[in-house]
Symmetry: C2
Subunit: 112 residues, 2 copies
Amino acid sequence: MIETHYSCPCMEQCPLNRAMQLIGGKWKMQIICSLNNGGSIRYNHLKQRLDGISNTVLAKALKELEECGLVTRHEFMEVPARVEYRTTKACDDLIPILDSLSDWCEKYEMKE
Amino acid sequence: MIETHYSCPCMEQCPLNRAMQLIGGKWKMQIICSLNNGGSIRYNHLKQRLDGISNTVLAKALKELEECGLVTRHEFMEVPARVEYRTTKACDDLIPILDSLSDWCEKYEMKE
DNA sequence: CAGTATCCCGGCAGATACTG
DNA sequence: CAGTATCTGCCGGGATACTG
């Protein structure tokens, strides 16, 4: 191996790192998972599924996921308020990749 | 959709969450990337590639990656000390998945 | 050279109360 | 119902100095 002044492409903002920031964090994966399994879901329904999540955290996560185009927010003009969330095409395309990641983890029986 | 008391499998310690914990964190991805590109690499060489990483963080990350079977540590009994790191088979199998994750991110031009 | 030992800080995550 | 406002604690990440 030649001793060039090699630098990993990940040192810049590479897509891989961006991806990790999108789906990283304590709850993102569960949120994506729940939305994927359930079609359109209302805020409180989602919160019930994600046992133990707080409003601050869930609302912030949903906002981030919406901003980066992974989920859509649909607000119905009703009283009391009604808002439904669902996955986007981008998110649906992500699922198979997450599946293979999951399979990989099981195959090698990864422990933390 | 039937209103069962559905619970996302991710609520337990699912493989997907485990995977994310293994490769999550600020530097894990760059470390894996650097090791993957470089065969066996010595500690300080790796540190140079990961511009800005501190000893505490690098050492801790490497220990974790070793414990979960993603990298191997080979210590040569020399003075001064010499230690080389490289990826395991498990890690090599992970790379294509990370590639597809990267591609996915580029395809949808994900911003943070 | 390849790490530990210490100390430190900012930001994620959470609890709780409140509101359109 | 679907969130915000506010406060708090903890820990991942970091700087620096030291050692087998």
